[in-house]
Every structure is written in structure tokens, then in C-alpha cells.
Symmetry: C2
Subunit: 443 residues, 2 copies
């Protein structure tokens, strides 16, 4: 702890829309991104949808002098698409793969093929240890009929679990990425409330960027108006979140987004807007720790805890909806499979007739016979694969639901203790609830 | 911190060998296990290979009064097989799925189909917070030609990463399970050295059980001698590991294993032996923390850190071997696929001859034509699936290798700082290296 001065950290986050040969002007945009990052020299750069390792290597080479430290998170078939570049030495990295990520047969949505995950990098910022997370959750294709909602809620749950359990030793937590959730969406509230993460757009002292901090806007030439309906102007789904600790306070001094175009360039960096947040980390002296915060936040803590219980309960309900849906789908797959098997059996019986009753004519035309057999086999194969897939989906949903049930129980227990303590001795709080918005069991 | 007295905790671990209809005497053995657990009343029961949820529910019902708290970790198609039962309230659970777990086409080994994972449960033991982990790594089928070694090393790496990053806030860490590694195997050394975990068999004051603490023994009637060659007497692959913290010391007062049979029963609980460790947790007063330990362990710290660098380097080499192997396999799959495609093309050309040169005879007998086409399609399908699988394997191996490279860099940096500090001021250590065997970057 040599340096107790405040540290200023500039964090950048961008969904690069980097599908080679499919995303428009991919190489040109990477060149633009590389140039801009070289010029801007952010401390931490968090990128999503860098689907091709070649593009990562291009950036790595380009940023070698300004961002000597980097990590590309590999997972799944295509990769996680996540990358981090840093001015500061990366001490350690770790990757958590979400258990659910859409359906393989929804190939046109493509999410399943990318190994959606959350990447963690641990680095030193001045005297402080920062846990930096980068992630990209499952896209929302329809606001009205969002069949992926349970998956996204489970991803948000796993994200908050991963951050909460891995950041106990961190002085500062920073999370950047494309959450694919509106600010007040369930998963977002879950993430912020459970971990006490703060939204740099809401906390910033100074803001320069799109209206309402939107990151998917109609002014972006890569965006079609249809995609945004019913949010004509745009939506905010990319975030830089942060959190301090007993060792450091974090403030957001300024925050900005790109605005759908880049001066002197014919098109923007991506279909998403880029985010930049300037965070000020203020190491706390041991004396500051504890008492002042405790008294300051005493009143709101019970309320926040109760709110958190409500949010987790809501999430659990959503996961239960997903469970019922997956169960129904698995049942349908099983029924269809059994029908295919019955059909195959019937066909075999009919085919066997001439052999059993010697001399009888083969009742089937040969071609239809083969065609039907192939159909039956295809049906059986498809339904068995679907059955296996839905079984895995069910297991993951059940696991999340179970974790949530436990979590709610612990929170309620804490709330009870908390209310009792308030009742008996309103001036003193039990130590585990001193910090509202950060209800880690480890505290 | 109401209670500063030491707490005694009895931990139980067993690989239940619970494959319904395949494992011998499965229901009878579960009944025996349930009875024994009811009688023994361990504080924490860690079970592996509870493949059927029905069996978990049977145990849950049976143990409802003595172990009111439990969690079944669900993952993959069949499940993770992991379960925890506890006398003490489970506050929180979390699951990490290993990125690699064998090959789906090695169906007779079956590991791939179980969603191998590490489960975490957080509970209070007296005034202390304990992070309890249960896991089961990929089996070793051949000691001489162990093609799964890179997978197991990556699993051990991910296990140590998961424990290290999630246990920063824990006062006590307990890990139980079937690691499928001998005591001096690479993965085991990696796990123990990086996290400073201690082996209860090696640390126990009193031991009662099989020779050398073996858990897979020839005296067990479910074990065939062939499986154990060249270790005629048996091997030790199940463990209960533990670790204290600055808030608590942990000692192992006694440790025992079953010995291949159960009195008054015709067969043992499982093909593995069961482990029981009695741990004594001693909360430390704040005054104790620091100085005494620091001086006691000063000399060995540099050595241990250097040893850790060696171990991680060795692990990295093993992962690189796996990388080369996976690359070769992927190349073979691609080549075979291309051959299948060429064959299909050739066939189509030959089949097209009669249509192009009108009047010419169909050169192919009909049946062989269809058979060959089916063969080509099967070849294409299989090789594409293999190609995708090997690509995923490669990504996971590369990710682990990258994490290891970073880890080695950080450790070497620490070692350098450490040696410099020793050189300049041999009586004082830099604070981050006060605790040998626990080189968490978060410290």
C-alpha cells in the first residue's frame, strides 16, 4: 500500500460485431477500432463479438505498444468473442461458461454456437487489486415474445454468482459488456442489486453521448429500424458497471458513448455504440472503513435487502416458466420420437408380409418404402437429439432454480436477523449487513 | 465472532458408484449408505456418482432429520453426480462445469456423458465461514497410455482456479471427492501447491484404514484385479483436502477409510472406499494473525514458490501435448471428411454418365450405389461432428494454456520481488508472500 492517492482509470467497452464475411466492412472497422484505441490509450479495453482469432491477433499487434497486456477468452466452437486489452499487467484470468445459451436449431439466431461466457482478469491499478469482467449475454430478438428470457435470466444469475463469489478479495470490480438487457430488465436488476454494482451511466458526473445513454440507435447506419421496434430511438443494452470495497471508493467522473458515426470515416465502429467511462478510484485509509458508511446507509439497508428478495423471487418465477416450457418441449420430442418408432415398426411389419406369407406380392412400391424408412430414421435421430438437449436444458434450469431458492432463504434469514437487531438495538447493526447492496455471504 | 472456541467438523466423502441397473446391488447399497450416514451423523457428507436423482431423493428423505440441508448439483445430460448433505445450513451454492471431459465417442468410458463439474456450498461452522467443494475428475483407464491426461490436467487447473478465486472470503476451505489422481500426480500437486490445500491423510494425527490410505483396493469385491495393474494392492485417488486462513487454523485430528467390507453386510458401500476426516477448526484471535506464521515459514516460501512455478510449467507442457494431439485429430477428421466428399462427388459423376451420354447403361448396380452414398454421407456427418468437437477441445486447451502462461508470469514476478526483498532486507518479507502455499493474487 505505497500509494494512497486516487487513481484514474479509463474503461472502454464495445461490441465489435465481428462476424467475418458477414458483418459489413469488418476489416475496415477493425482497422478503425485499432487506430482509435491506439490514440485514446484507455487503461482497460473490453471487447465483445471478436469472433475471429485473426482479428484479435490483428488488434494485439496493433496495440502492442499502448496495451501490452491482453487476453482472448476461448470457448465453444467459434469462441466466446471476448477479449481484454490492458495498459496494466494482467495477473490472472479465468473463464466461466454459461450453462444455457439458446437453442442449436435456432441457427439463424446463432447465439448457441458462440460459447457465451464471462471472462475475468485480475490486475493492479495503482495499489489496488481490480477484478475486471467482460461478458456478452444472449440476444433478445423479440421483446413481446422473448422465448430466450429464462436463458438470459439464468445467464444473469450465473454472472452475478460468478462475480460475487470471485470478487471477495478485490478492491475494485469493473464489469463491461453487452448485457442484451434494458436498464430495468429483471436480469439487470438482479445483477446490480445482488452485487451492489453501480451503473456508470447513472452515476457519472458528466455525460456526453446518445440520448438516455442508448447503445443501439437508429442513427447507426448498420441498424435497421425494424430491429428496434417498438423503441424507435434506440435502446441501452451495453454497460460499464463498477463497485468499490472497504479498501476503495469508486466514482464515475465522466462517461461517453459514440453517436452512430465517426468523424472522417464513412461508417461507425460497429452496430453498437462504444462506451467510455472514466473512473476515479480512491483508496480508503483504514480509519475511514466501517463506521461512516455503516451509519450513512443504515436506513435503506433493510429496504434494499427486501427488494433483493423480491427480485430473486421474480427471477425464480421466470426460471420456473422456462422449466415448464422445457418440460413440455421434451415431452413433445419424446412423443414424436415414439411416433417415428411406431411408424418404422409398422413399415417393417408390412415389409415382412411377403416373406411370411410366401408368394404374396410386396405391397409397397420400393421407392416410397425407402423414403418412409429414411423419414422415420431422421425423425428418430432428431427427436433423440432434441430429447438430450432439453434434458440438459432442464438440468441447468433446475440447478439455477435451486441456487435461487437457497439464495432467497439466506437473504430472508439475514433480513430477519436484521429486523430483530433493529428492533432490539436500533443504533447497532449486525456486522454482516453493514454494506447495503453488497450482500455477499462471505462478508 | 461470538464463539472463539475450536469447532470439530466431521467430513465424509464417497464415490457411490450409482449407475442404476448397471452398478451391482445399487438399491441395497444406497440403503446401507443411508443407514450408515444416519448413524454416523457427519457434519458434511460429500457424495459423487449419485447419477440418479431418484437415489438422491431417497437419501434426502432418509437423512431429513440428521442432515436437513442438502444440494444436488445438476449439469449435463445425466447430471454431475455430485451431492452434498449437511447438518449446517447451506447458505449458497454454485457450480462450475469443466470445459473438457473426455470424448463422446469413447462411450464405453462414459465420462463425457456425465457433466463433470465442481460444486461449491458455503456454510457456517460455528463462527466461521466454510467453502466446501465436491468434485469428480475424469477417470484414468490406463496408467501407461493415458490419453485423457491433458483433460485431467485441465480439469485440475480449472478446479484450482475455481477454488482459488471463490475462496478468498472463506475462513475454511474443504474439498472432498474422487480426483482420479494418485497423490503425486501432476494435477494433484498443482491443486495442492497453488491453493495451499492440505491432504487430511498426510496431516492426520490418527489414521485407521487401508494401507497407504488407499481408496480403490483389491480386497473390495466390486474391484477386479485387472483394473488395478500395476498397483496390485490398490491406489489412493479419493481425498479430503482442507485449508485454513488468517481467521482460522485447521487440524486433522483423525482420519479413517472403510476397508473393503462392512460388518454384518454381504458387500461394501461402493467400489471405492469411504473417507471420514475429523477436522478441528481453531478461530484465530486477531493478535495471532500474521507475525508468528510469517517468521515460521519465511525460509521455505521462496522454495515453495519456485516449486509451484515448476509444477505449473509441467502442467502447461502437458496441455501443449494435448493441444498437438487435438490438432492432429482435427486434421485427420478434416482429411477424412474431404475424402468422403470426393468419393460422393465421384459417385455422382459416374451416376450422371447415363444421363449425359444418352443410351449408355447405368454402370453401377443399384444397391451398391445406394450403399456407397449412405457410407459417404455417414462419413461426412461423422467427420464434421468430430471436427466441431476437436475445435471445441482445442479452444478449451488453448484457454487453459493461456491462463497457465499468465499464471507462471505472475508467479515469477512475485518470486523476483521476493528474492529482491530477501536480498535487501532478509528479515522482512513483502506482505504478499507471507503465506507460503497460498499464492492467491488477491492476498
Amino acid at each position: 500500500m505505497t500509494n494512497m492517492d486516487s487513481v484514474s482509470v479509463r474503461v472502454f467497452s464495445l461490441n465489435c460485431w465481428g462476424i467475418r464475411y458477414l458483418s459489413k466492412y469488418c476489416p475496415q472497422r477493425y482497422a478503425m477500432i485499432g487506430e482509435m484505441l491506439c490514440k485514446e490509450q484507455h487503461d482497460i479495453v473490453l471487447l465483445q463479438e471478436v469472433w475471429s482469432e485473426k482479428d484479435y491477433l490483428f488488434l494485439k499487434k496493433k496495440l502492442a505498444s499502448c496495451h501490452p497486456h491482453s487476453h482472448y477468452f476461448r470457448s465453444g466452437v467459434i469462441g466466446s468473442g471476448l477479449a481484454i486489452f490492458s495498459k496494466h499487467r494482467i495477473r490472472d484470468t479465468f473463464l466461466y461458461r454459461y450453462s444455457l445459451n439458446g437453442y442449436p436449431y435456432m441457427a439463424h439466431h446463432g447465439d448457441w454456437f458462440g460459447g457465451k461466457a464471462v471472462g475475468m482478469a485480475i490486475l493492479n491499478l495503482g495499489s489496488l487489486t481490480a477484478n475486471v469482467y467482460v461478458t456478452h449475454l444472449h440476444a433478445e430478438y423479440s421483446r413481446e415474445k422473448d422465448s430466450y428470457l429464462p436463458h438470459r435470466v439464468v445467464q444473469a444469475w450465473e454472472l452475478q454468482q460468478f462475480i460475487r463469489h470471485t470478487s471477495t478479495g478485490a478492491d475494485v470490480v469493473i464489469l463491461g459488456g453487452d448485457l442484451n438487457m434494458h436498464p430495468q430488465d429483471l436480469g439487470n436488476r438482479l445483477l446490480r442489486a445482488y452485487n451492489g454494482l453501480q451503473d456508470s451511466y447513472l452515476e457519472t458526473a458528466k455525460f456526453d453521448g446518445c440520448e438516455n445513454g442508448m447503445t443501439l440507435i437508429v442513427d447507426n447506419p448498420f441498424i435497421s429500424k425494424k430491429e428496434l421496434v417498438p423503441f424507435e430511438k434506440g435502446i441501452r443494452i451495453d454497460y460499464i458497471l463498477f463497485k468499490g470495497s472497504s479498501k476503495a471508493d469508486v466514482h464515475c467522473d465522466s462517461m461517453s458513448t459514440t453517436k452512430g458515426s465517426v468523424p472522417n470515416h464513412p461508417f461507425p465502429y460497429s452496430d453498437h455504440e462504444a462506451l467510455t467511462a472514466e473512473l476515479r478510484l480512491e483508496p480508503r485509509t483504514p480509519a475511514e472503513t466501517g463506521s461512516d458508511r455503516q451509519s450513512k446507509n443504515k436506513d435503506s439497508a433493510t429496504g434494499k435487502l427486501a427488494e433483493l428478495v423480491d427480485i430473486v423471487t421474480e427471477a425464480r418465477t421466470e426460471v420456473k416458466v422456462g422449466l415448464h416450457c422445457a418440460e413440455r418441449m421434451r415431452y413433445t420430442a419424446a412423443r414424436t420420437g415414439v411416433m417415428g418408432l411406431a411408424l418404422l415398426f409398422l413399415e417393417l411389419v408390412i415389409a415382412a408380409v411377403p416373406y411370411l406369407a410366401l408368394g404374396a406380392e410386396q405391397p409397397f412400391p420400393r421407392t416410397s418404402f425407402y423414403l418412409l424408412a429414411v423419414l422415420c430414421f431422421a425423425m428418430l435421430l432428431t427427436t433423440s437429439m432434441l430429447y438430450i438437449f432439453y434434458t440438459m436444458e432442464l438440468k441447468s434450469l433446475q440447478e439455477a432454480e435451486d441456487q435461487m431458492r437457497l439464495g432467497i432463504g439466506s437473504l430472508q434469514e439475514k433480513l430477519k436477523g436484521f429486523r430483530l437487531a433493529q428492533l432490539h438495538n436500533p443504533s447497532r447493526m449486525p456486522p454482516e449487513v453493514q454494506e447495503p447492496g453488497a450482500f455477499e455471504p462471505e462478508e
